[in-house]
Assembly symmetry: C2
């Protein structure tokens, strides 16, 4: 399940050009599978070379030709196969948590900024998911809804955890050392 396969999957729904796919990545996949032009365009070229998609060039004025990709029968098969073959990974790589692990080496002001920023990014992610869910209102698939809900729930849990436990990290030590596993209900 790399960017290539994901592009193939999106093309099972609708034909699209690289620019379109990038927008879909930005809206629906951003919170769990980010991708930029640098991976999408090469992916499409590879898929075309492998015969899994066909490409039709639409001339435009003042812009590069729009290359519209459409999935082939071989592509459909390959995608279904990849859904059944792959053992899906779920990888987190958090520089944020790595830093916090060393919080005793960070002064309180900087630490507060780090925590504030992270919470703000989580809240922004939640807003983003809400926004796109409203746009797709009604016409979204069960999978899309599930994935959006997952992102919201996990981001909320993370944000609440940070807010409820950040006091444990400040160097002004008081003796309240309980970790609040159950945060206040939002």
């Amino acid at each position: 399940m790399d960017v290539k396969t994901l592009c193939l999957g999106l093309l099972t729904v609708q034909e699209a050009c690289g620019y379109d796919l990038k927008k879909t990545f930005e809206s629906s996949f951003k919170h769990f599978f980010p991708a930029g032009y640098g991976s999408i365009y090469p992916a499409l070229a590879d898929l075309a070379a492998a015969g899994l998609v066909s490409c039709r060039e639409i001339p435009q004025i003042g812009k590069p030709d729009r290359k519209v990709y459409r999935i082939t029968e071989a592509g459909e098969k390959a995608f279904i196969q990849s859904l059944n073959r792959t053992d899906p990974q779920h990888k987190l790589r958090s520089e944020f948590l790595a830093m916090i692990y060393f919080s005793d080496r960070i002064d309180d002001e900087r630490l507060a900024d780090l925590l504030d920023d992270r919470v703000e990014k989580l809240r922004e992610s939640i807003r983003h998911i809400e926004r796109i869910s409203q746009q797709h209102e009604g016409d979204s698939s069960a999978g899309a809804d599930f994935v959006a809900g997952f992102g919201t729930v996990v981001a909320e849990a993370a944000a609440r955890y940070i807010e409820s436990n950040r006091h444990l990290l400040t160097q002004t030590k008081d003796m309240d050392t309980d970790i609040h596993i159950n945060a206040a209900t939002g």
Copy 2:
């Protein structure tokens, strides 16, 4: 904040060889920053070449020499700097969610397996964190505790979300289409 910087950070606490560091990655960082020998050994070599750590070789019988790395003053400085310079990322890349997005193309049996596996991995991760927290009982830093708690809370939220909403993905449709944002407690 790459593997290199993280190794440097661990060496601010205690001198260690590559093998030791790998164990620390396995125990404390596994759930948010995995790393294997293939990244750790080259990282140590780079750090030594840059003069950020020194290396002392201890001869052993029947094993390769144990290379014990100790941080230098330049290394301490570089680490503190990296804690203040870097804008920390927090990246998720989930093939699992990508697959679920296309759940309407997956048959119910396979889908159930995918969801079961993910929940089991989340629970295993929670048990893992609990286990290592008990081992470090008392002598762990505030940062380490915070990061462990974060992992637990987020994994629990994810597992509960999956359990509470998986019925929405099965193709045997009943008309109950509510997303359960607030899952059952405990």
